[in-house]
């Protein structure tokens, strides 16, 4: 089964480490999003897979063939992959058709087959009517489609997408995300998308790798990352999460007893007794109907998705602000008693040196 494997990849530029101990095991046909803040190394990892960068240590394998290691380098032209650049990098002197056709011509694909493949590809991205235009005469979304068609016409087994939506407006972005999913399903190729936008990643990816400071902090399905973050960074990055410090007093399998303020709660989690983080999403909180768990004060409200998204300042040491949905408007400074209805508990030192990925560490389709 063709797949992409990375083992212990390490890379530094002028002594600053940009990729450290990268392990990946990706089945054919996956849609992986490399997600992280800018400067986390996600684009470098993508360019490394493309063959535009080399590594200092580790290995990269397509199937069982080593394509990159400190003493082996398969040049990009021999890797049989496609890439869509952030700037699209369309060849400005060639028409839309010329851009899509060029690589087929270079491979001496016979005329009739070539024309047929180009026509079908243009059809697939909806550019048949613009085939003879130059890239400069196209809109951003159309250029994006040309870049996609140009990469996909070669039927690559892996398609790399480097922040492909960064230059598009919000509406077009949604449209292109739908397009990515459709093309992914139609081609059966492995897609790897680099993005700093977690909504984008959640919308399309079958798997997400959250990166920070040159390391993969956690890799898993969108749901696993959302429900069971492995580190506080992942918890805060995914789904507008927040973390608050708690004391874990006991663990029973996948549930933990934690002390928060004066209250003791039984919540999902895998932390051993000691200091821990409680990872929360807005829907894990609600105004208390009974005794509640802690006091807070309203800072501000905004109306979103039919409810009042409320930013509150909790009266707990070491916690900044939290967000929760409310059904009723509440003016600033209103005191509130809040109840915790869910969450995920992790060790306080999780995500330091050792990454212990959860169920999604090795992905098997």
């Amino acid at each position: 089964m063709p797949h992409l494997i990375a083992r212990g990849i390490r890379k530094s530029f002028d002594r600053s480490v940009v990729l450290d101990d990268i392990d990946l095991d990706l089945p054919q046909g996956a849609f992986l999003a490399l997600l992280g803040p800018s400067g986390c190394g996600k684009t470098t990892l993508l360019r490394l897979i493309a063959g535009l960068e080399t590594c200092d240590a580790g290995q990269l394998l397509f199937d069982d063939r080593v394509i990159l290691s400190p003493d082996r380098f398969v040049p990009p032209e021999d890797r049989q992959l496609g890439m869509v650049f952030q700037s699209y990098a369309l060849w400005p002197s060639m028409s839309v058709r010329g851009n899509v056709e060029f690589a087929l011509k270079a491979r001496r694909v016979p005329g009739p087959e070539r024309r047929d493949r180009v026509a079908r590809m243009l059809e697939a991205v909806g550019l048949t009517a613009h085939a003879d235009r130059l890239p400069q005469d196209l809109s951003g979304g159309q250029r994006q489609r040309v870049a996609l068609a140009r990469s996909l016409v070669l039927r690559p087994r892996i398609l790399l997408l480097d922040e492909p939506l960064a230059n598009l407006d919000a509406h077009l972005r949604q449209q292109m995300l739908v397009e990515f999913r459709r093309l992914h399903a139609e081609t059966g190729a492995t897609f790897i998308l680099v993005t700093h936008d977690q909504d984008e990643a959640m919308a399309v990816a079958s798997h997400i790798a959250v990166m920070e400071a040159g390391r993969i902090r956690q890799i898993g399905t969108p749901e696993a990352l959302y429900r069971r973050p492995a580190t506080p960074m992942v918890a805060r990055f995914i789904g507008h999460g927040a973390t608050i410090p708690v004391q874990v007093i006991a663990r029973h399998g996948d549930r933990c007893d934690v002390v928060l303020g004066g209250a003791t709660l039984n919540l999902p989690g895998r932390a051993d007794p000691g200091a821990g983080w409680l990872c929360l999403h807005p829907e894990d909180l609600r105004p208390a109907t009974g005794a509640g768990h802690f006091d807070a004060q309203v800072i501000a409200q905004s109306f979103r998705n039919g409810r009042h998204a409320t930013l509150v300042l909790p009266r707990i040491a070491g916690v900044d602000t939290l967000s929760l949905p409310m059904d009723a408007p509440a003016p600033a400074h209103t005191p509130l008693r809040i109840e915790i209805t869910g969450g995920w508990v992790i060790d306080r030192d999780a995500g330091g040196a050792a990454v212990h990925p959860l169920s999604g560490a090795r992905i098997h389709a």
Binding site: E77, G82, F102, A103, R107, R150
Partner: protein, 569 residues
């Protein structure tokens, strides 16, 4: 990692790229490094008595060397003074005053840059001579017995100063363009009188450019051959470039060691000025926030406009007019008048097979040089911008050398390298067109390499990466992705090479042989033989050809790409 040798690229560099880099380095080694190296070897040869550095000692202690060196230094400095005064005043006038036909004025000011120096020298000779068709009717020409006042040290300095004035003009003009309007308006609002705005706000911002332009003019003056040859040889004012020419002409290759030492002195003078310029530019450049450029609002007074036009016409048009009138006189010594005016000279020179050969040789040589340089510059610029490696960076730097050193030095280097029969084939290139072509290829490569590299560096490297990922080979990427992205710069550079090669005399004066004359050589030798009217006619024809090429270039490039052409400033 550190132990690996990345001479021709790192591990990402493909094998085709590596092979290309090796080929280009070999090419540059053959046409640039080897000849210039021969020159160094010749200069450091032991003397006739076998003493180490004997040739250098003998040449440096010779009286003729000292005289030529002093003349070169002093006259170049005086000419820089002329260039800075003229160029500075004109740049200020064009940059700060509002007047009509500014574009035409700029073009006329830049004319001396387009006109070959031998033609410029010739036209000033005709303007200032006893038979001047323009000054004589006005009663201003020198009396017939006294000889031409330009055949003198000051004459050389004056004409060189005018020839290189555009270099200073361009530098100061660019500096003035970058003075933000805010700066001037802030001074106005603070009620600072215009005179002080000029002297305390605007002028200080141009000082680094004055120095930079002046040093560039100095380098050009040191290496100038056409003007010292036409004015200094009859006037017995030896300069380093003409001394090299005369020595080689009278003693042949046996003088190689001596003239190599002279060439080394020339090179050191030119390179010292350029190095000083680079240092000054780095340290003196004042940081000015970019802003809306200042555009003059008030019209210049009529007397000022008239004065500026008078100066520009006197510099750009009057000498050429004298040249044209001379070319229309039937014989030497006959004063020009409408009654005697005829096209006889033109009939005569066009019937002269040597002149026709000169035109066809110059055309072929300059077109071939432009084409080959373009074919070399494209892959070289590709590697410089997209696949940098130590070897390619060095090649890029060395490619510059034949343009930085004076042309006479390049010509001499070519003689030293290619006079001995080539290994394997056993044929000497000296005495053939090939040696002139190789000299052109070496000297003019930077004219196309610089703009192409600059454009490539500003371009999107991802277009090449995308093609690489799409599996397109090196040749396909250079031809279909890289070349179209630098098309305008390549074309502009190629046109610049055609024009420079058509103009030049410095290289071919030393390298030509019978049957392989160039236009420059024809002008020079006709004048040298005393046929000044024929020389004038050939000059007029070549200038007309050049102006036609200018117009053709503008048309071929279109309005935007034409901005890269030299006379656009």
């Amino acid at each position: 990692m550190a132990a690996e040798l990345h001479l021709f690229g790192d591990r990402r560099t493909g094998s085709a790229e590596r092979a290309l880099a090796v080929l280009l380095c070999l090419y540059l080694a053959a046409i640039t490094v080897w000849p210039l190296g021969q020159l160094l070897v010749a200069a450091f040869r032991p003397g006739d008595d076998g003493a180490a550095l004997g040739v250098m000692r003998d040449t440096l202690s010779a009286r003729a060397t000292g005289r030529a060196f002093r003349n070169t230094l002093v006259l170049s400095l005086i000419s820089v003074g002329v260039s800075v005064l003229l160029g500075g005043a004109l740049a200020l006038a064009v940059g700060l005053l509002r007047m009509r036909w500014r574009a035409a004025l700029s073009f006329l000011i830049l004319m001396p840059l387009v006109i070959p120096s031998q033609t410029l020298a010739l036209s000033w000779i005709e303007l200032m001579g006893a038979n001047s068709a323009i000054l004589k009717p006005l009663g201003l020409a020198p009396p017939p017995g006294r000889g031409n006042p330009l055949y003198s040290p000051l004459g050389i300095a004056l004409v060189m100063g005018i020839e290189h004035m555009p270099l200073v003009f361009i530098a100061i003009h660019a500096a003035l363009k970058s003075v933000p309007a805010d700066l001037i308006e802030a001074a106005r609002l603070a009620a600072i009188p215009p005179r002080l705005v000029l002297t305390r706000v605007i002028l200080p911002l141009t000082y680094p450019s004055v120095l930079a332009g002046g040093l560039l003019a100095f380098t050009a003056a040191v290496g100038n051959f056409g003007i010292p040859a036409l004015l200094g040889i009859p006037g017995r004012v030896p300069m380093l470039t003409t001394l090299i020419y005369q020595r080689l002409n009278s003693f042949g290759p046996s003088a190689a060691g001596q003239v190599a030492v002279l060439a080394l002195i020339l090179t050191l003078m030119a390179v010292a000025a350029l190095a000083l310029r680079a240092v000054l530019l780095r340290h003196l450049r004042l940081r000015v926030e970019a802003g809306r450029p200042h555009t003059p609002t008030r019209n210049a007074p009529a007397w000022a406009q008239a004065l500026i036009w008078a100066v520009v016409l006197a510099i750009a048009i009057l000498p050429l007019a004298a040249l044209v009138l001379t070319s229309l006189t039937p014989a030497i010594g006959v004063p020009f008048s409408l009654q005697v005016a005829s096209l006889d000279q033109y009939h005569r020179v066009l019937a002269n097979p040597a002149v026709l050969r000169g035109f066809s040789n110059s055309l072929i040589l300059s077109l071939a040089a432009a084409l080959i340089c373009a074919l070399i510059a494209l892959p070289l610029a590709y590697l410089v911008a997209r696949r940098p490696s130590p070897a390619i960076a060095l090649a890029d730097l060395l490619a510059e050398a034949p343009w930085v050193v004076p042309g006479t030095v390049v010509a001499l280097a070519m003689i030293l390298a290619f006079l001995p029969p080539l290994p394997l084939i056993g044929v000497s290139l000296y005495g053939s067109m090939a040696i002139i072509l190789i000299a052109y290829l070496a000297r003019f490569l930077p004219l196309i390499l610089r703009p192409v590299v600059a454009t490539a560096r500003g371009g999107d490297p991802m277009q090449d990466q995308a093609a690489r990922i799409a599996g397109i080979g090196l040749a396909g990427r250079i031809a279909h992705v890289f070349a179209p992205s630098v098309r305008a710069a390549t074309l502009a550079g190629a046109i610049l090479i055609v024009m420079s090669a058509m103009n030049e005399l410095t290289l071919s004066a030393l390298l030509w042989s019978s049957g392989h004359e160039t236009i420059g050589v024809m002008v020079f030798s006709l004048q040298y033989e005393g046929s000044s009217t024929a020389a004038a006619a050939v000059s007029v024809l070549s200038t007309a050809l050049l102006l036609a090429l200018c117009a053709l270039a503008e048309l071929a490039l279109g309005p935007r790409a034409a901005q890269a052409l030299p006379w656009r400033g």
